[in-house]
């Protein structure tokens, strides 16, 4: 066990966990932020996506000891009132079916739009291909990202 101080959603958080504990389980079990989901544990599904210094990162595959003072943002910290343009677009397009994958989808999409404010379909496909949606909401995900982009640029 070791002490780690993490910057999560703008707050310093202390945890006492084994060094190899993936960030995902630190968030879910120790900090009780369960918006970040477990889907595969091996970087294949994207359900666990968070932002690490602004980059979309699979939290299931990065140990807590590798975080250092990088800033972690989870779905709970993406916006104060759930009103990030991507979250708003997700509601507008009523994207979710079961909804389980959507936190990860939103984190991947918002990281994409941070770097590319007007992505093409192809750019959306390559940024989002690591996020599985078992319910098949991909068409709405694509439309919602375009809407969020145009709202951000407006």
């Amino acid at each position: 066990m070791a002490q780690f101080t993490l910057n999560i959603n703008g707050k310093q958080q202390q945890v006492d966990v084994a060094e190899d504990t993936p960030l995902l389980w630190v968030l879910r079990d120790h900090i009780k932020l369960v918006g970040t989901k477990y889907g595969c544990g091996i970087s294949q599904c994207g359900a666990c996506t968070v932002h690490l210094d602004g980059t979309a990162t699979r939290s299931c595959s990065i140990p807590v000891s590798a975080i250092g003072n990088k800033k972690v943002v989870t779905i709970e910290g993406l916006s104060k009132n759930g009103d990030h343009p991507v979250q708003k677009a997700w509601i507008e397009h009523d994207v979710a079916q079961c909804g389980y994958c959507q936190a990860g989808q939103i984190m991947s999409a918002s990281a994409l739009l941070d770097k590319n404010s007007n992505p093409s379909d192809e750019e959306i496909y390559s940024a989002m291909n690591g996020n599985i949606c078992r319910c098949g909401t991909y068409l709405r995900i694509r439309s919602a990202i375009h809407s969020a982009a145009s709202n951000m640029n407006a």
Binding site: A47, G82, I91, C98, R142
Partner: protein, 735 residues
């Protein structure tokens, strides 16, 4: 308005009214740590009054509608309360939806399966709303000393012809004390205002914020984490366990085995389907600690039954479809003779692999069980069945077992089988503490309950005028027989024979989105395309001719479809897709199927991109009667299509020596955003008929529409799923 007796499902209305007595104050039952939003708190009434099992109204008119059915992503938590709200005649913006726990006294069929929630709920939910409205009217009439007939309602307000009006909240208390009317009026569907209006998912705002809605998110003070290890292969069980490396590991509390084999003298229920009864369990403080211990555990396994291989399973199924069955499932006319007299015989076999459900949220359940009481929380499509299993295995009386359904990260049939819920209960009982059982993805994917492997042989006989005179289908599946003997084309051919075989296996199988239909539609609709081609007919015209026969002069009596509605979706998809129009470089396929009481026809456009076939666009026409929530409905249609294409193209679960070859998404391919067709255009037939299933019916036909379009593009009939596999195998290197 139509006057209907409230006898249907009347107990739902009676029990609660009685229990509510004089306007009971009922606390808000927020699931887990889900707090009301500040806006909701502002709107919270000071007092709630129970009108019936589905409705409580606050003194300020804010209304809670209870959603009793499990939510697996089919959106019933929005669409079912919409039906109540419609007949209650209330402003949807003032409605709060609350998920109930299992309560078989109050609610019927709290089950998510067979796309039947809306169909079964329709009448009862309308009546619940209409009854509430009527009681509010009676309360207002009494207070204002006017006859009910002079009152009207609109958006949660009652008005009298004199001009006087007031909100429902004012009469909620009085209404809650009235007895249930003997008869209520239901709206004329043409007056619907909420039903038929696109309405957003009620959990949408919480989902985009990552609020804890799912079973995996559940937490209770003092809760431990448990994981299981099941045998690596079907046909094995644990022989000995060496936990010496584990016992001292940080955070680990206990290692033991449980056995969920059916207790002696009891009968196994279908919902207890499970290949692995003997499990090694690890219990600890946190998920990662338990996961690590799981890896360190040394278990010796022993073989108790055969170890199967996919290649053998295929050849056994292949052999079965060459064998006559002694008891045909249906036989019309004389098929042997028809084939003897045929001018042309077409024959083809079709195959499909095991599929895992792979819900995004792996199996998990919370249980807090002690000597005589159990609290269970988690994702389950069959809460009542789980309760009776837990009773059967623990002896705890059913009335002391509480089952709360969380939102589910997908179901697709997997959560009809509640073994994981039962396992959580057995583990909690053993450690005498609240426990959340979590399956890893690997546990989940290798655990079984798969969509069975299938094989199917079709034969068709055409006479010299290219008329279909004989049709023969022979089906085989693992632990099942994928056949619907009375579905189309039964009833359209004079000589028709349907036979089936089942191949027993120790690999457990279960319902997977649109059970059997998910394969039958593919095989049948691919085959009919080939028959149409052999007959020199357009594939839509060919099918319509058969429906004509079914309408004018049906063969047999038990034909399980309405030929007119079936033909209707085909005609509409013909029109919407401009079928027959030639587009340079575009190849089209069509398919239509009926299941879960709904009719679906689809057209697929495929284009060749550097010789690679690519799906461009899909037209989908659905006849499921009244569409309650068009927005949610289109989402279901699209989801079914994407799911159907994905599994037909890419997915398979195979095994070697009883061990699944795929255990995570690196080896088990699921459709991703890149592979998704660019566009899906959906149309619903507007006919005002009572609603039928929608969560499943768009999945089965799509794989055939794709195969038929692919055939036109590349000249090859895709007879084996997954198609990508067959496309690879069939590639012949140029000499």
């Amino acid at each position: 308005m139509t006057l209907v007796k409230t006898s249907y499902n009347r107990r739902s209305f009676l029990k609660t009214s009685a229990a509510a007595g004089g306007g009971l104050l009922i606390g808000f039952n927020w699931l887990v740590s889900c707090k009301p939003t500040p806006k909701q708190l502002l709107e919270m009434p000071e007092e709630w009054f129970n009108i019936n099992s589905y409705i409580k109204i606050g003194n300020n008119g804010v209304t809670t509608i209870f959603s009793a059915n499990p939510e697996i992503g089919q959106n019933v938590k929005t669409s079912m309360p919409m039906i109540v709200a419609e007949e209650l005649d209330i402003d949807w913006k003032k409605v709060i939806v609350e998920q109930t726990n299992l309560n078989t006294e109050k609610y019927d069929r709290q089950l998510a399966g067979g796309s039947q929630s809306i169909r079964h709920g329709w009448q009862g939910l309308r009546m619940a709303g209409a009854t509430g409205r009527r009681m509010l009217l009676e309360a207002a009439a009494k207070e204002w000393q006017v006859p009910v007939s002079e009152l009207t309602t609109k958006n949660g307000t009652i008005s009298h012809s004199s001009g006087k009006s007031a909100g429902y909240g004012e009469f909620a208390q009085a209404a809650s004390q009235l007895s249930v009317p003997e008869e209520v009026e239901l709206k004329d569907p043409k007056d619907f205002k909420i039903i038929g209006t696109p309405t957003k998912n009620v959990d949408g705002p919480k989902l985009v914020k990552g609020e804890p809605l799912f079973g995996l998110d559940y937490n209770k003070e003092g809760m431990l984490i448990a994981m299981i290890v099941h045998a690596p292969s079907f046909g094995m069980k644990p022989k000995s366990i060496d936990d010496s490396a584990v016992k001292g590991m940080a955070g680990i509390k206990d290692v033991f085995t449980i056995d969920s084999a059916t207790p002696e003298g009891e009968e196994a229920s279908w919902s207890e389907t499970n290949a692995f009864h003997q499990l090694v369990v690890i219990v600890g403080n946190s998920t990662w600690e338990v996961m690590k211990a799981k890896k360190a555990l040394k278990i010796e396994w022993e073989k108790v039954s055969s170890s199967e291989n996919t290649v053998d399973q295929i050849s056994k199924l292949d052999e079965l479809i060459t064998q006559k069955s002694d008891e045909p499932r249906r036989s019309d006319g004389n098929t042997d003779k028809a084939f003897k007299n045929a001018a042309k015989v077409i024959e083809k076999n079709y195959y499909a692999p095991f599929l895992a459900h792979n819900t995004m949220e792996p199996m998990n359940f919370f249980a807090d069980v002690n000597a005589n009481k159990a609290e269970l929380v988690g994702p389950i499509q069959t809460p009542a069945e789980l309760r009776s299993s837990v009773h059967k295995y623990t002896g705890i009386p059913e009335e002391n077992i509480d089952v709360m359904m969380t939102r589910m990260g997908g179901g697709f049939g997997r959560r009809l089988y509640g073994n994981f819920g039962l396992e959580a209960a057995l583990i909690s009982k053993k450690v005498n503490a609240p426990v959340k059982l979590i399956y890893t993805r690997e546990d989940d994917m290798t655990q079984g309950t798969y969509r069975p492997m299938y094989a199917m042989k079709y034969r068709a006989a055409l006479d010299k005028n290219n008329k279909l005179i004989g049709f023969h289908v022979r089906a085989a599946g693992i632990n099942s027989a994928p056949l619907f003997p009375d579905r189309y084309p039964a009833g359209t051919v004079d000589n028709y024979l349907a036979e089936s075989h089942s191949l027993e296996s120790n690999v457990s199988t279960g319902a997977w989105r649109a059970p059997s239909s998910n394969f039958v539609a593919y095989a049948e609709q691919s085959f009919l395309d080939e028959v149409a081609e052999a007959a020199g007919k357009d594939p839509i015209d060919f099918r319509l001719e058969l429906f004509d026969r079914a309408m004018t002069d049906p063969v047999g009596e038990n034909n399980d479809y309405d030929a007119e509605r079936y033909a209707g979706v085909l005609k509409m998809v013909h029109e919407k897709s401009n079928w027959g129009e030639k587009k340079e470089g575009v190849y089209r396929g069509v398919s239509a199927y009926y299941c879960h009481n709904s009719y679906v026809a689809q057209v697929v456009d495929v284009a060749l991109n550097n010789g690679e076939p690519q799906i461009q666009k899909i037209w989908c026409v659905v006849d499921c009667g009244v569409v309650v929530n068009p927005d949610g409905a289109i989402n279901q249609v699209e989801g079914g299509i994407v799911d159907g294409i994905g599994h037909a193209m890419y997915s398979a679960l195979t095994m070697t020596d009883g061990k699944p070859d795929q255990d995570n998404f690196n080896r088990y391919q699921l459709i991703r955003i890149k592979d998704t067709p660019f566009e899906i255009e959906t149309h619903f037939v507007q006919n005002g008929i009572d609603p039928t299933g929608l969560g499943e019916p768009t999945l089965p036909p799509i794989s055939a529409a794709v195969a038929n379009a692919m055939y036109r593009a590349i000249g090859k009939r895709l007879t084996k799923q997954p198609f990508t596999q067959q496309l690879k195998e069939d590639v012949v290197e140029p000499a």
